[in-house]
Symmetry: C2
Subunit: 407 residues, 2 copies
Amino acid sequence: MNNILIAQSGGPTAAINAALAGILSGALGSEEAGEIFGGVNGIQGILEENIISLTERFGDDRDALRRLYFTPDMYLKSCRYKLKKPDEDDSDYARLTEIFKKYNIGMFFYIGGNDSMDTVARIKAYTEKQGLDIKVIGVPKTIDNDLVEIDHSPGFGSAVKYVATSVREIMMDTGLYPSENVTVVEIMGRDSGWLTAAAVLAPPENFPSEPIICLPEVPFDKDRFIDRVNEEVQKCGFAVVAVSEGLRDDSGNYIAEASAGVDRFGHPQLGGAATALASMLREKSEYKIRTVELGMAQRSAGHISSETDLKESFTLGENAFKYASEGKSGIMATLKRTGDEPYTVEYGFADVTEVANKVKDVPKDWMDEDNFTVTVEMVQYLKPLIQGETEIDYKEGLPDYLYDRHN
Amino acid sequence: MNNILIAQSGGPTAAINAALAGILSGALGSEEAGEIFGGVNGIQGILEENIISLTERFGDDRDALRRLYFTPDMYLKSCRYKLKKPDEDDSDYARLTEIFKKYNIGMFFYIGGNDSMDTVARIKAYTEKQGLDIKVIGVPKTIDNDLVEIDHSPGFGSAVKYVATSVREIMMDTGLYPSENVTVVEIMGRDSGWLTAAAVLAPPENFPSEPIICLPEVPFDKDRFIDRVNEEVQKCGFAVVAVSEGLRDDSGNYIAEASAGVDRFGHPQLGGAATALASMLREKSEYKIRTVELGMAQRSAGHISSETDLKESFTLGENAFKYASEGKSGIMATLKRTGDEPYTVEYGFADVTEVANKVKDVPKDWMDEDNFTVTVEMVQYLKPLIQGETEIDYKEGLPDYLYDRHN
């Protein structure tokens, strides 16, 4: 049992393939590793035996491995499949065990977020109970930055860099006109405001305006919001709002849902948080209001990924293989921050049951509710994560990402 | 009368400051040029005597000039001000003449689109009639690519590069899941489909799916659209739609407006074209539907600007100064394409009255209406415009754009 199986799960990031490249880089040619397989479409694909050989694909093609590193999205594709509790229904686990045995799997790496770490914990417990000798290891990623037991989630830094850059460009654009105008930018993160907070980094040097930041953790107060926008427009002639898609009122209802009405045929409309805030501002002001909804572009923007983020993600992948080789199992590769200036980290691992299904919230004292912004502690936390630009290949003017059809 | 006045107008692009840098690069230190002034907020700012010295700012700071080149948005800010016809009301012209005399202006450069070229034509005619010796020159820009007398508008190539890159990343993201899903991306260009057509460049090598492109020139047919989406989802399991914000039905009504209804309080909702198409698809299918509205990010994305675009824009600025020095007036600096492979251009100029208020449409035979796409001629046209990546400065992980407060 010395073959390896790797899969990816959940939402993509710009750094998740760097983690895969890290595992492959450790495993290819290692004495500990037999053949390396990839499960396509996560655990769901493995259950359907959608399995390819990564040794064949990358063993003799180090240039493909190099391109994999900077390719966003997920080389092995994804799923949103949750295993049942084994004491309720163990058929998925039995099937997995069958697959593991058939492919002679001794190490299983699952790259993902909270849910994926739950999957890792369950597979570890089940296979152990069955007496199978399989090292089951989690490798972290999520742009939501809500994983515990790690200073920050791989993929988050690149999303921060993209959001801060885009909001910088949008702020400069919004500030161009002599007439009063407001731009509302909607940012991902349904439950936590980590990524929305990235807007605080956006203003270029000398810029007269600060973004108005609406976090999902802070119950939305319409009147105070409109006052804050008016204040900024009076000061600078314009304002830029960075709003989390998950913005809620004080009863916990999503602002986007509350404002969504029906179309002329009576069909329900699905508006986002930016659309909702724009409607409020249009009612209460004469400003020209525009919205930007960056959407999935935030988690897939490989063209402006953070070098720090990708390097860390790669190292976490490498370490995951090292830990498995040392006989560890049921762990997630992690890192903790040991310094801000200069920024330093220490790599390690955590028990995956300590990570599964838990959520890291934005600390209350990093939010400045009264001023619709975040504090200097948040700025200090975010800054190191976006340092450095990843060198990527371009072909005919566009990023030359690695893409393989797996079927 | 040998001082120079420069201003910018209309919407920003990633290349408009490169044109300003080009004029400055030609003029600074030239014997033909006295002091160089900038009008802040276009013609509106000039009328209000909002004028700064660019000689003071850039004369001894070539590094600032270098950063100006890659900075998106507009260093001199913008306006949307239309001069009245002089035979109806010549007060603005009289005021301009006063300013020109006061600042001893011998050359006036206006960087902008169709409307700005109309302004150039009118100022030229008026000052000539007054017997003032002022060379009035237009320098082109617009991401809409609708200027005539030029092969393509500066700023367009960078917008194409950004849109094609973003749609590439979004397509790879959309294709990750085993469940059927569709992403609708809204692209700028209210009246013409040049920029929406950029989506055709998006699929990476080996990719199984093509974007479904909805141009504003092609009357929207809901049933045919839904059939096309179903066809793509059946083929690949997913689909990506690139829709122009200006999509219209066969009566010329905007699809976005037609679908916008009222919210629960009876207030009119303002949805975009992407939201409208998403609603249609939700009614008719079980697909998971997502929308992306890149908005202003498309015209300000300096972090992924086209080197070809910025170089051309710079050269057009340099040429504009050269033509003025040679005594030309009432012209716009232009370029025409002389070859596709290799791509070559020839620089020149056009009578600005031939450009003002005219619009370059997408040729009918470059659109493939039946297949919701564009033809190989369009691909051949677009490709050279996105070649090369502009080297920009980064500071603390973000693009180090030049920003000055002008007041």
